[in-house]
Subunit: 203 residues, 2 copies
Amino acid sequence: MRQNPAPLPRGRPRSFDVEAAVERAMGVFWSRGYHATALPDLLRATKLSRGSLYAAFGDKHSLFLRALDRYIADALTRMDIELAPRREPIDGLRAYLAGYVDRTTGAKGRRGCLLVATAMELAGQDAEVGCRVASFFKAMEARVADALARAKAAGKLADGVEPSSAARILVCFVEGLRVVGKTAPARITSQATVDALLDRFIS
Amino acid sequence: MRQNPAPLPRGRPRSFDVEAAVERAMGVFWSRGYHATALPDLLRATKLSRGSLYAAFGDKHSLFLRALDRYIADALTRMDIELAPRREPIDGLRAYLAGYVDRTTGAKGRRGCLLVATAMELAGQDAEVGCRVASFFKAMEARVADALARAKAAGKLADGVEPSSAARILVCFVEGLRVVGKTAPARITSQATVDALLDRFIS
DNA sequence: CGATTTAAAGACCAATCGGTCTATATATTG
DNA sequence: CAATATATAGACCGATTGGTCTTTAAATCG
């Protein structure tokens, strides 16, 4: 089953980086939300002309989905590093939570989270968004539960802690951190809160 | 310092209930969010004419603030009942959390929370909204901390549980429940998660 | 009654929305 | 070179946005 040799493209080649454009668009949606983002905002951020943007992405909604997918992929990649199986699970969980403390403090906190904002703004009405949000929470919960299960196997969890329900608690907690983080609490406060919660789970 | 006897109003009296209109408007903002709510939506819900609505509330943003204030007042009133000082504090906390389980399940869950949606959509850019959101979280945390302090005084808290940091944990957790609730998880799942968290705090 | 105030209906407004299209320049191919 | 494909700039589109204003009817007062 050989592929025919792909015919070389004929005309002027694409001269901009599509993924970089998605990333810049993601930044705009992240800062302003979906409905509050207007086409001129996206054109300014991506440095594309109207024509190029529509040719490359179709419409605003499709571009938004690309940006959301990118955001989700970045978040899962980060978690896979923080909670890597070869790492000490409790250390991994601490790193994971420390990342949330960092992202919910000061200016980063006030900027918020594209995923949480999208969940609140669109997940109820837009099925394509809704299933992405739901599968993200599932994926996050699975990773946390896996780390907790390894911690439990190593005897590091407090008595009576179930990895699966503890994972659901942690997922709710960190997403709530992002909500409360919009009011930009002090870093030490968030860190102390995270520490106090983790203390309830480890032995 | 007597008041002059208020002169009786001269013309046709107001014939609609302002608070009822605020409540109906709140329902629209709640379901659709601020930016996605258009004037015709508000006119349909309040059954007011454009002129009456602008005469009574000024503009869309002012009406939104009225609706948000109403939502916040309702939430705090509910908490004051659930966490009343004369009540057993642990029972109160269970009732408080059960309310969140109820509101994050099924259709109610998918509808979401006006406060969380507003925090994510507007709190970062709109100072009037931002300070309302921040003060709401403070007020909620204070009420939960108070209930936890009473529980601790009654010896019902597990060793090492600080009411103030536990209150911050619970606030983040319940707001995170509202986020995850947008994906409408099963009631038993949410209830089990809540129970597992509370079990970590009580003795 | 006449004076006054409000409500509803809807015309009207400039600005902006997301989206399409045309004109022109540019970069690649054979 | 000619053919092809893409980029940009910006005109253009109908629909909708939040908001104002006018008209007419109704409800209260002295």
